[in-house]
């Protein structure tokens, strides 16, 4: 029995004992997702106990070092843990921009003090983070950002405005790009962390076409931020931001893989629309569109596995996340278009009980942002063309 085999059997036993049955059910709506934070809400007590159990072992962030609240697992062990969780369909105990975005950046660029201050609360789900990148008039063009941080001795004073700040109204802290030098473009940007409870911070939710408001406009009016909260070098925040964007893309690219409730699109369509005497979905053109979609979706599932393996072994092209983000988000949009077609008029309902308040239609509309947020599809294609295919600029 190898070490990994014994790790697997121990893990399996532990999960069996500690993962509540409710946490093995598929996610049904946004409320089923646990985000943690100072004002965390738990729809079901099992959410909290599952989070605490996992956090106690550092398994909310299994591959982070133990001294920062992680599990200290090797890549092989991490993979085993994920496989064993998948085996029992265990939910992710904690969804967190702190884990998926800030954490990797802090591990790479943070000081020891910063790591010790911020990573353990992220791992335990105690502090919820949001990201302050985009600004009005600086959509895909992050370098055009105008939020300023003026040097005031031991602290900076922040003034400006961000948009598309995910869950800013629910977050405890923000990691934020600010301009510390107005003489250059990309060079003059710094990466700061600060508490959203600081005086001068205010947020205003943006109502989306889905009817939800996951994003905010965020305003900074003379916000004081201690200088120790600068990550990386002053005026070099762009490096941190780029590194972090790569991780965000990895996360978002996973979206192409999602499947509602474990049923494939085709099976769900057959459940709703019925099959003919050959067992084929009783809507021939839709069936064929779904089948061709499923080829791509399942091929992309293999691509994601390959990408993760390559990342783990340091073999992935540094711009490959752009390809993954592009393909995964376009696929996810296509999936929801097809799901809506399969649902017909019934899934067009926006408020009815049968649709859980229009959840499928709202989710369909929500996916339209996938190819915009975190760098548009157009930006990803530019990156692939230039950095992977090495196509010329003129």
């Amino acid at each position: 029995m190898t070490d990994l085999d014994s790790f697997r059997s121990e893990t399996r036993a532990w999960l069996e004992a500690n993962c509540p049955p409710e946490m093995r059910e598929p996610l049904r709506d946004d409320d089923d997702v646990v985000w943690g934070g100072r004002n965390a809400t738990y729809k079901h007590p099992a959410q909290k106990s599952w989070l605490d159990a996992m956090a106690s072992r550092g398994w909310t962030v299994p591959d982070w070092p133990a001294e920062y609240g992680g599990g200290g697992l090797s890549p092989g062990e991490t993979k085993v843990l994920r496989e064993e969780m998948a085996r029992i369909a265990a939910r992710n105990p904690l969804n967190s921009f702190g884990i998926s975005m800030l954490g990797p950046a802090l591990l790479k660029y943070g000081t020891e003090e910063q790591k010790l201050e911020h990573l353990p609360p992220i791992a335990r789900g105690e502090i919820r983070w949001c990201q302050g990148y985009s600004e009005p008039n600086a959509g895909s063009d992050l370098a055009a950002l105008a939020t300023r941080a003026d040097d005031a001795g031991d602290h900076f004073v922040i003034n400006g405005q961000k948009v598309w700040t995910s869950y800013a109204d629910k977050a405890d802290w923000i990691f934020c790009l600010v301009r510390t030098d107005f003489t250059t473009k990309q060079g003059g940007i710094s990466f700061l962390l600060f508490d959203m409870a600081s005086p001068g911070v205010s947020t205003k939710p943006i109502l989306l076409i889905s009817g939800y408001s996951p994003f905010c406009e965020t305003f900074f009016d003379d916000v004081r931020v201690p200088k120790k909260n600068l990550v990386g070098e002053i005026n070099k925040g762009w490096d941190v931001a780029k590194y972090l964007l790569g991780h965000e893309r990895e996360m978002i690219s996973g979206m192409g893989l999602r499947e509602g409730g474990g049923r494939t699109l085709g099976q769900a369509a057959a459940d709703r629309l019925g099959t003919d005497d050959k067992g084929r979905l009783d809507a021939p053109v839709l069936r064929s569109e779904i089948a061709l979609f499923e080829v791509r979706a399942q091929a992309f599932r293999a691509m994601s596995e390959r990408f993760i393996d390559e990342l783990k072994h340091g073999r992935a092209h540094p711009a490959q996340p752009s390809m993954m983000k592009y393909y995964g988000t376009e696929l996810n949009k296509a999936r929801h278009e097809l799901a809506m077609s399969a649902g017909g008029s019934e899934l067009l309902e926006w408020e009815s009980e049968e649709t859980s308040g229009g959840a499928p239609a709202r989710a369909w509309l929500r996916t339209k942002a996938n190819s915009i947020e975190g760098g548009t599809s157009e930006v990803q294609l530019n990156i692939v063309a230039k950095r992977i295919l090495d196509l010329p600029s003129n």
Binding site: S345, S377, E378
Partner: protein, 378 residues
């Protein structure tokens, strides 16, 4: 007849464009939506449609209408689409009028004046499942006393909760899937044992689920022949689908125009984003799809007006093509607008929602493509 609008049709288009653009632009939909309006449209606006003469486009001149045809109706519907105007125009002035034109004079005398004035509203009770499949109508209409007794359910009935008149397809004979045995009924508002459950849809319109728990109607509620409603139903659906195609064209055209304007204004990396060649090519491709869809729709409507035997296939081509083109228009519209396109504050999202509802209504792309294949023998 050349395949573009006649002078008369162009005048009608201009009148409709001015009227709808002024009286019911997208802000009109937005205020109804924000008020959670329980009707789904403005009755005042509907009366104004009547005053403009629009409601009588398909009503014969000797019955007070304009005696025009499908092309003229499409001209109005395209402006309705462009402005996302909530209106019972399609089911009432197109659907019910076409159905009643195929039935007894008594129906027309009863309904046309109120439709002309914009007092009456009609709804079409056709769909019974999540997808449009009128040939599979299963709802039963059994002989009962001097009339019929209707039992079954309908859904996706736009305005069905407030309609004064319901056009209902039911089966007096035969089995689902058969053409023979379908009968069309004119069912009046507030019939006993008829339950309407209005559902707000993604585009803020209201469509009803209807339950017929043994609704009794007189024999003269039948439109046309008993068991022989299929022909009238087909003609009605031909006009309604062509009309929906025009409305889709308006939605797609409106979305495209907004998007092209945005491409000319919005700057990124120091240049107007409309100068990026990748976006230019996608916009030009979208333009091509919309132009082709426009031609297909006008062709279908001219064929309907000429009584061409192949009009039915042409309508399916139009509905499928406008479904594809407009879906592309709203998808490109939201994507090219970037983040702002995702906000409720901006109008492009309304176009996306309306496009999906209309693309689904009366048969989506797949339904009509399949229907064409079947008709062509493959």
């Amino acid at each position: 007849m050349p395949l573009f609008l006649s002078e008369e049709q162009t005048m009608l288009r201009d009148a409709a464009r001015d009227f709808v653009g002024e009286q019911a632009p997208v802000s009109h939909l937005r205020s109804l939506r924000d008020a959670d309006d329980p009707t789904g449209f403005s009755r005042d606006l509907w009366r104004s449609f009547g005053e403009m003469g629009f409601n009588g486009i398909l009503i014969p001149e000797d019955q007070g209408g304009l005696g025009l045809g499908a092309v003229a109706a499409g001209v109005v519907l395209e402006e309705v689409g462009r402005n996302l105007t909530p209106s019972p125009f399609l089911p009432t002035a197109i659907g019910a009028v076409t159905a009643l034109n195929g039935g007894a004079a008594a129906h027309r005398e009863r309904w046309f004046p109120a439709i002309l004035s914009g007092e009456a509203v009609a709804a079409l009770a056709i769909d019974e499942g999540p997808k449009h499949q009128p040939e599979r109508t299963a709802m039963r209409a059994e002989r009962s006393g001097n009339g019929f007794r209707l039992t079954g359910a309908k859904q996706f009935v736009a305005g069905g909760h407030v309609a004064d008149l319901l056009i209902v397809a039911a089966r007096t004979a035969g089995a689902p899937g058969e053409e023979d045995g379908i009968t069309l009924f004119a069912v009046e508002k507030d019939a006993a044992n008829l339950h309407a459950d209005p559902r707000r849809l993604a585009d803020s319109s209201l469509a009803a689920r209807l339950r017929f728990d043994g609704v009794e109607v007189d024999a003269d509620a039948v439109i046309g022949e008993v068991d022989g409603g299929a022909a009238t139903l087909r003609r009605m659906l031909g006009h309604v689908r062509a009309g929906a195609s025009s409305e889709l064209l308006g939605v797609g055209g409106g979305a495209m125009d907004m998007t092209v304007s945005y491409l000319k204004e919005r700057k990124q990396f120091g240049v107007r984003i409309g100068a990026f060649q990748a976006l230019q090519h996608r916009a030009a491709h979208l333009y091509s799809e919309m132009e082709v869809a426009r031609a297909a729709t006008l062709k279908a409507q001219q064929m309907l007006d000429a009584g061409d035997a192949k009009a039915d296939a042409a309508v399916s081509i139009a509905k499928a093509m406008t479904g594809m083109a407009t879906t592309l228009a709203v998808q490109e519209g939201v994507q090219m607008h970037g983040g702002i396109g995702m906000t409720d504050e901006y109008d492009i999202g309304f176009y996306m929602k309306r496009a999906r509802v209309l693309a689904e209504a009366f048969g989506d792309v797949g339904y009509h493509a399949d229907r064409l294949a079947e008709g062509a023998g493959y």
